[in-house]
Amino acid sequence: MLDFSILIDYSDMLWDGFKVTIVASLIALVASFIIGTVVAVMRITPIAPLRWVGTAYVEFFRNIPLVVIAFFFFIGTPAIGIRFSGITAGTIALSIYTSAFIAEAVRSGILSIPKGQMEAARSSGLNYMQTMRMIILPQAIKIVIPPIGNQFINLVKNSSILALISGADLMYQADLISAKTFIVFDVYILVALLYLIITIPLSVGLRYIESRLANTY
């Protein structure tokens, strides 16, 4: 049957990987949310060049594999003299990739706000950015929490691409352990459980935020 003694023998490596996965995911979560929101606003602004850049960004990054972006920042950029560690390259790639999906979610949330909200705020003298920040985005957030939650969960799982660019994450450590011990099945079962330890509370937390927001007004 399953042999979880490896958990004890290699607990340091697993713990290190677990920490890297959490830190990389958290940074990418915050970064992708900020970038995604900015790109979403760009995609709907009346200023055409900004709209084009926003659209190009989304269409480019959500339509190429995450691994390609990760490889670009790990083994591509050194060609022009910029070197990132595996963790950094992976976190950047995760942030960029996820932000393209978040931008689409936020954009649809913004578009679902009745246009009278924008008109009322603008006609009182607020400028476009003030209106976005104070009136539109706070209402849109409530609508986009569920789709964004899905993206965050995907992000945690996608962080396993760090293993491909020696990012020292959970998946990377699991590969090392199984290569060393020739125990494959048990190690990956264990790793799956460790991912669940991150993603399940994330799901529950997002559902909690969703229900809290639903009752605010």
Partner: protein, 242 residues
């Protein structure tokens, strides 16, 4: 104060406003009436550039609204607008709805904005609703908060876009009463409405518009008792005798 000179507006091939010439003076209450789709709301929305005009000139005081270089945010500070659907901010309380623009546009302190907001909530007759969210208010109360929100900016002009059309009939009166008070106090008002009683009682001038053209400009009593244009006669007979 507000001056339309040969204003035209097109949506693609559709000619929404046709050669509009109109002067609105300070302190005047101008009521725009006409069948639906006649362009009356569009005419109103051009005044604060919620709609842009295609050609002609539109000025408010010395500010050219049609000029792209005019800082429209500055002009909009002086023009309040009240909408058919109220358009209150649902995530903010009545008080926050009213203090938002004074604090963020006029840079008033929170205390001063709050004081002003409470004053105007009192003026529109709902001083005890400051901490209510729009969803907790009736339509009539929401529209009165919307009027208080417009007034808190101390505007020189108030625009009303069918302010009572989305209200239950029994709430129309409370909103019209507030508007009457404002008119008596000398506020410059441009009102698009189907409330003929209000138009007759409060209006200084009636503008009758159809298919994008101003067909008749008249004194209210004159207009309702002795309309000159056939189209106006037909319109009045339809809405007054049902």
């Amino acid at each position: 104060m507000i001056s339309f000179n040969n204003v035209n507006k097109y949506y693609g091939d559709f000619h929404v406003l046709k050669n509009i010439n109109l002067m609105i003076n300070k302190g005047e209450v101008v009521v725009i009436i006409g069948p639906s789709g006649s362009g009356k709301s569009t005419l109103l929305r051009c005044i604060n550039r919620l709609e842009t005009i295609s050609d002609g000139s539109l000025t408010i005081g010395d500010k050219a609204i049609h000029d792209k270089n005019t800082d429209i945010n500055k002009v909009r500070q002086r023009i309040g607008m009240v909408f058919q659907q109220f358009n209150l901010y649902p995530h903010k309380t009545a008080l926050e709805n009213i203090t938002l623009a004074p604090m963020n546009v006029l840079k008033k302190s929170k205390e001063e904005a709050k004081e002003t907001a409470e004053f105007y909530l009192g003026k529109v007759g709902i001083p005890n609703k400051a901490s209510s969210y729009p969803s907790q208010l009736s339509g009539g109360q929401q529209q009165r908060v919307a009027i208080a929100r417009a007034l808190a900016m101390k505007p020189e002009i108030l625009l009303f876009d069918e302010p009572t059309s989305a209200l239950d009939p029994e709430m129309v009166g409370e909103v019209l009463d507030v508007m009457k008070t404002l008119a008596k106090e000398g506020m410059t008002m441009v009102v698009v409405t189907h409330e003929m009683g209000f138009a007759k009682e409060v209006g200084d001038r009636i503008i009758f518009i159809d298919e994008g053209q101003i067909l008749e400009v008249a004194d209210p009593v004159e207009f309702f008792e002795n309309p000159q244009e056939d189209r106006a006669k037909l319109f009045l007979s339809r809405i007054l005798n049902h």
